[in-house]
Amino acid sequence: MPTSAAAVLDALGDATRRSILERLRDGPSAVGVLASQLPISRPAVSQHLRVLKEAELVLESVAGTRHLYRINPAGFEVVRGYFDRFWATTLHNFAALAQAEAATSAIPDTQPERTGDLT
């Protein structure tokens, strides 16, 4: 199972981490660059990036000695997962309603046929 919704929400529950993500939306960046754009120290940026990485919202790549961080497109899984659950519930409800409709509309038309396999 991928990252839990709770980990994602925790990671996003911090204003600094959200501003880091905002900056990464413009393209990959390094710790030093991010630190120069934000009112926090380089170690603090690293710390936040670690949390974002653990929540799978950010990916890290290494080119030589240079570490680059970028948005993880799979972060969309939160959006996708949300709507997937939403429609699963909604269509489940719809099917239940349709079954009830089928049952009530069947009664006036025909007598239920007794086939002897009722449980």
């Binding site: 919704a5 929400l9 996003l12 529950g13 959200r18 993500l21 905002e22 939306r25 393209g27 990959p28 970028r70 948005i71 497109p73 969309f76 939160v78 959006v79 996708r80 949300y82 709507f83 997937d84 659950r85 939403f86 429609w87 699963a88 519930t89 909604t90 269509l91 489940h92 409800n93 719809f94 099917a95 239940a96 309603l97 349709a98 079954q99 409709e101 089928a102 509309s105």
Partner: protein
């Protein structure tokens, strides 16, 4: 962005769900559109009042909205295609913060196909969810509000767990 190798320009984020119902397409289409109130998850409302009614106006270009118990109306989107009994496309235009955003166009495509038992296969695709990515500002905001997406998501996860249990 060219720096993201896995995100092609045409990459579309889609949710697909299907369900089989024991009624013919004509009836399934009517039930889906005219009686949405009866199967819509009740906690899923964007208005300040509880949902009294979910309305899909029966024509292309029609409105898709909720009416609260206090009579207030909140738009959800539009009817993009209305081709009973086979095809319905709704524009879902609720932003990440659950307010109507006319600039956002995600599509809920529903196909009703007759099967050979007199029932219907209902296939739903919620398309272009990647367009939520264009809402950088909103996406930043949604996680700030307990009543926003996070709250609804958390509520939904709890609910799903209860259903699974």
């Amino acid at each position: 962005m060219s720096s993201q190798p896995s995100a092609q320009p045409d990459s579309e984020v889609v949710v697909r769900r299907a369900v089989h119902v024991p009624i013919p397409p004509e009836q399934a289409f009517a039930l889906f559109t005219a009686r949405m109130t009866e199967f819509w998850p009740a906690e899923h409302s964007i208005g300040s009042a509880a949902i009294a009614e979910v309305v899909v106006e029966p024509a292309a270009g029609g409105r898709w909205f909720e009416r609260g118990v206090d009579g207030s109306e909140c738009d959800w989107g539009r009817v993009a295609r209305w081709n009973p009994p086979g095809e319905l496309v709704l524009l879902w235009q609720l932003g990440a913060d659950w307010t109507f955003d006319p600039t956002l166009r995600t599509e809920v495509e529903v196909d009703f196909t007759a099967d050979d038992t007199g029932g219907t296969l209902v296939e739903l695709r919620h398309r272009h969810l990647e367009r939520y990515g264009e809402q950088a500002e909103t996406l930043r905001g949604i996680f700030d509000s307990p009543g926003g997406w996070t709250g609804i998501l958390a509520h939904f996860v709890d609910h799903a767990r209860q259903v699974d249990a």
